[in-house]
C-alpha cells in the first residue's frame, strides 16, 4: 500500500529531501519556512543525514557549498530575505558549477515585509538572484504533493547540470495541509561526480580547477550559455488545464494557480472558454508553449500575488501579439497582508476583460 500522509507543504519538502537522498541540510529559522527546519532537525538524522542550524543564511548557504563539494546531496531552505542574504554564495556556486537545492517559501516583500503569503520573489529567483549574469533552474510547487516530488526532481537536475535549483513555494502552499503519496521518484541516470574535492596526484582530483576556463572568460560564458540552452530544450515543465478550446488563457503558478484552476471551472460553468497554463519551471520559462497556445486565444490574463513580475516573462513570450492583462496583488480579498486572490475575483476580472460583466 502506498504511504499516504496528510502533510503541509513545508513537511512535504522535508519528505522530498529524504526521499531524494538529501544527506545534509543547513538552515536558519525564518517564517514561513521554519517547519522545514524543524521537520528535518528531527527526521533527517533518522534517515542517515546531517542537520545543522547555522547562525545566519550566509553561513547556511556557504555550508551547502562546502558540503556539496564533498559530493553530498545538500539542501537549504529559507524565505525571501534569506534568499537575498545567500546570493553571494549562490553566485559563487553558479560560477564553480556546484549543485545545490535551495527552497524559497516566499513571504511578502520587499524588505522584511510580512511573514504572510506572496509571490514577490519571482524576478529575483528566475533571473539568478545575485550578481554575474548566471541562471538557476526554478521549480514552482503548487501543492504538498508537488513540494515532495519537485524537491526530488530538483536534486536530480542539480546533479545533472551542476547548478543551483530553487524550489519556489509560498506561505499558503507551505502552511496548507494536503494528502501526499510519499513515493521515491526516478528521473534517470546521472553523470559521475568527477569534480568533488579530492586533491591531486594519487588522490585522483582534477588539477585544472573546477572549470577549465580560468583565462578564457568568453569561453566560460559560452559554456554556461550552452548548458542553459540544453536545459531550455529539455527540462521545461508545465501543466495546461482545460485548454482545448480556450479563448482566454490564464497564466499562474504557486498557490495562485490553484485559485486560477478554480476560476477556470467557475468560468466554464458560465460558458466562458477559459483555460490555464501553469508553468512548473519558471526558469526555463515555457515561452514556446505559451506562444503556441496563444494562437487560439483572444486574451491572456496573468494572475500573480505581486505587482507584476511573471507578467514580464509572459509579455516577452508573446511579443505584443495577444493582449496581456494582469491581475496582481490588487486582486487580493483584503488589502492587508492576510489577503489572497480568490477564484471569484479572477472570474470577475475575466468577465471585465472579455466584456460580459
Amino acid at each position: 500500500m502506498a504511504d499516504r500522509r496528510l502533510l503541509s507543504g513545508n513537511e512535504a519538502i522535508g519528505w522530498g529531501a529524504i526521499l531524494g537522498e538529501c544527506k545534509a541540510f543547513f538552515g536558519y529559522p525564518i517564517t514561513p519556512q521554519s517547519e522545514i527546519l524543524e521537520f528535518l532537525a528531527t527526521e533527517l538524522p533518522k534517515a542517515g543525514g546531517v542537520f545543522l542550524q547555522t547562525e545566519d543564511e550566509i553561513a547556511a548557504v556557504s555550508m551547502v557549498y562546502g558540503s556539496s563539494m564533498t559530493g553530498t546531496r545538500t539542501m537549504s531552505a529559507t524565505s525571501s530575505p534569506g534568499i537575498s542574504l545567500m546570493q553571494e554564495t549562490v553566485s559563487l556556486m553558479a560560477y564553480l558549477k556546484v549543485p545545490s537545492v535551495i527552497v524559497d517559501v516566499c513571504r511578502f516583500g520587499p524588505g522584511s515585509g510580512m511573514a504572510q503569503t506572496s509571490q514577490t520573489d519571482y524576478r529575483q529567483v528566475t533571473k539568478g538572484g545575485g550578481h554575474g549574469g548566471y541562471r538557476c533552474i526554478v521549480l514552482a510547487a503548487s501543492s504538498s504533493q508537488e513540494c515532495c516530488d519537485l524537491v526530488q526532481f530538483a536534486f536530480w537536475l542539480a546533479d545533472r547540470y551542476r547548478m543551483t535549483v530553487y524550489v519556489l513555494t509560498d506561505a499558503t502552499i507551505g502552511q496548507s495541509c494536503e494528502l501526499v503519496d510519499l513515493k521515491t521518484r526516478d528521473f534517470g541516470a546521472l553523470p559521475d561526480k568527477d569534480w568533488v574535492l579530492r586533491g591531486l596526484d594519487e588522490r585522483g582530483g582534477n588539477g585544472q580547477g573546477i572549470h577549465p576556463h580560468m583565462w578564457d572568460y568568453v569561453g566560460y560564458h559560452e559554456d554556461m550559455n550552452e548548458k542553459y540552452r540544453e536545459i531550455t530544450e529539455n527540462e521545461i515543465k508545465y501543466e495546461s488545464y482545460r485548454m482545448d478550446d480556450a479563448e482566454v488563457i490564464l497564466v499562474a503558478y504557486g498557490y495562485v494557480s490553484r485559485m486560477a484552476k478554480g476560476a477556470v471551472d467557475l468560468a466554464r460553468e458560465e460558458g466562458l472558454k477559459v483555460g490555464l497554463l501553469r508553468p512548473i519551471t519558471l526558469w526555463p520559462f515555457p515561452t514556446n508553449v505559451l506562444r503556441e497556445l496563444s494562437l487560439q486565444a483572444h486574451h491572456i490574463l496573468v494572475v500573480e500575488h505581486s505587482s507584476g513580475l511573471l507578467v514580464e516573462d509572459v509579455e516577452c513570450a508573446l511579443q505584443g501579439k495577444v493582449p496581456v492583462h494582469l491581475l496582481g496583488i490588487w486582486g487580493t480579498h483584503r488589502r492587508d497582508s492576510s489577503g489572497i486572490i480568490y477564484p471569484e475575483r479572477i472570474v470577475e476580472e475575466i468577465k471585465q476583460m472579455v466584456g460580459v460583466a
Binding site: Y28, S34, A41, E55, D56, S112
Partner: protein
C-alpha cells in the same frame, strides 16, 4: 545611584500599552525600565524579532520615541549611521546638540548569531550608543528554534529531545565577555526582577563616552514553557541558581553586583520550566551534571574576574 520607584511609577512610559507581545513577556518590562532610566531625547533602533513585530504591526506603532527598524542582522549598523550623522551635523553647527541618546533593542538571535559582526564593528568604531540584548535564549519569534544563547540540554524545535539527543548539545556562548573584550566603557548583565540594578546599569551605560552593552535575560513563557504569571520569579531563580549572573564591566574592571546566598542547585532552575522536563528523568542525570559543572565553572571564573573570594 539613587533610584526612587515612586516618580518612575507615575512617569509616562515611552513604550505605549496596546502592543501585541504575549502575556507575561519580560521584554516590555525591560524596555520600559531601560527607557525610564535613559530618558528623552532618545532614538531607538530594533532588529527583527518579537519586540519589533509586536510593537509595529503595520500601520501602528507602540513607540512614543523616534524608532527605526532594520533587518535582522544590522540594527547596530543602522544606529551607527544615525549616530554618525547626528554627531556630524552637530559638529558642523547644522543642528543644536540636545544630548540625543541612542539605544538598540535586539533579541539573542540578532545579537549572538546573525548580527554579531555588525555589533562588533559598531563597538570597534566607538559609536556612542547602548545596545541591549533581550535574551530569551532562543528564536521565539519564529517558533522556538535554538540559538547560540540557548543553554545546554534545553529543548527547542531544532534541538529535539529523543533517544539520541537530550535537547541542545552545545553550551551557549559567553557573548557578554565577547563584548567586554572589545574594551568598551560599559558592559553588564542584568535581569528584570532586579529593577534597581537594571536601571542603574542603563543610566551608567548611556552616560558612558562610547558604546555600551547590557545583556538582559527575559523569561519567555511560550518558549520556556511555564505559567505567564511566573516571569519575575523565574528571573530571580535564574540569578539565584547562577544560571544568569548580575555583573558589570566598567572601563575594564569586572564587578559582581549580586552574590546569591544560598546558591541554589541548577535542578531548581530545570524543574521550573517545560523546556528542561526531560532532564529530570534518571537517564539524563549525566546531562544535569554537565550543566551544573558548567554553571559552577562560569561562576568561579566570574568570581575570579571580579576578584571576589
Amino acid at each position: 545611584m539613587v533610584l526612587n520607584l515612586e516618580p518612575i511609577s507615575v512617569e509616562r512610559d515611552l513604550l505605549a500599552p496596546g502592543h501585541r507581545l504575549c502575556a507575561g513577556c519580560a521584554e516590555t518590562i525591560v524596555v520600559r525600565q531601560i527607557l525610564h532610566a535613559v530618558g528623552e531625547p532618545v532614538i531607538v533602533a530594533s532588529s527583527t524579532g518579537c519586540l519589533e513585530v509586536a510593537t509595529s504591526p503595520y500601520p501602528y506603532t507602540s513607540w512614543r520615541v523616534p524608532w527605526i527598524h532594520s533587518a535582522f542582522e544590522n540594527a547596530a549598523s543602522t544606529i551607527s549611521g544615525v549616530e554618525t550623522m547626528y554627531r556630524a551635523l552637530v559638529k558642523r553647527g547644522k543642528i543644536e546638540d540636545k544630548g540625543l541618546k541612542f539605544v538598540v533593542f535586539a533579541g539573542d538571535g540578532a545579537t549572538y548569531d546573525i548580527g554579531l559582526q555588525f555589533i562588533s564593528g559598531a563597538m570597534e568604531r566607538g559609536h556612542r550608543f547602548l545596545y541591549v540584548c533581550l535574551n530569551n535564549e532562543a528564536y521565539m519569534n519564529t517558533g522556538i528554534q535554538r540559538s547560540s544563547a540557548t543553554p545546554f540540554g534545553a529543548w527547542t524545535t531544532t534541538s529535539p529531545v529523543g533517544k539520541e539527543t537530550p535537547g541542545k548539545t552545545q553550551h551557549r556562548k559567553d557573548i557578554t565577555a565577547i563584548f567586554a573584550a572589545h574594551n568598551i566603557p560599559f558592559v553588564a548583565q542584568a535581569a528584570p526582577h532586579a529593577w534597581r540594578d537594571l536601571m542603574s546599569k542603563a543610566k551608567k551605560a548611556i552616560a558612558a563616552d562610547g558604546p555600551s552593552f547590557i545583556n538582559v535575560i527575559v523569561p519567555c513563557q511560550r518558549g520556556w514553557r511555564y505559567a505567564p504569571g511566573d516571569t519575575i520569579e523565574l528571573s530571580r531563580l535564574a540569578v539565584d541558581t547562577c544560571v544568569w549572573s548580575l555583573y558589570e564591566v566598567v572601563d575594564g574592571e569586572w564587578r559582581l553586583n549580586y552574590y546569591p546566598n544560598p546558591k541554589k542547585p541548577v535542578t531548581d532552575w530545570l524543574k521550573s520550566q517545560g523546556r528542561f522536563q526531560h532532564l529530570l528523568k534518571p537517564e539524563n542525570k549525566h546531562v544535569v551534571d554537565i550543566l551544573q559543572a558548567e554553571v559552577d565553572r562560569q561562576w568561579t571564573k566570574l568570581l575570579e574576574r571580579c576578584k571576589v573570594s
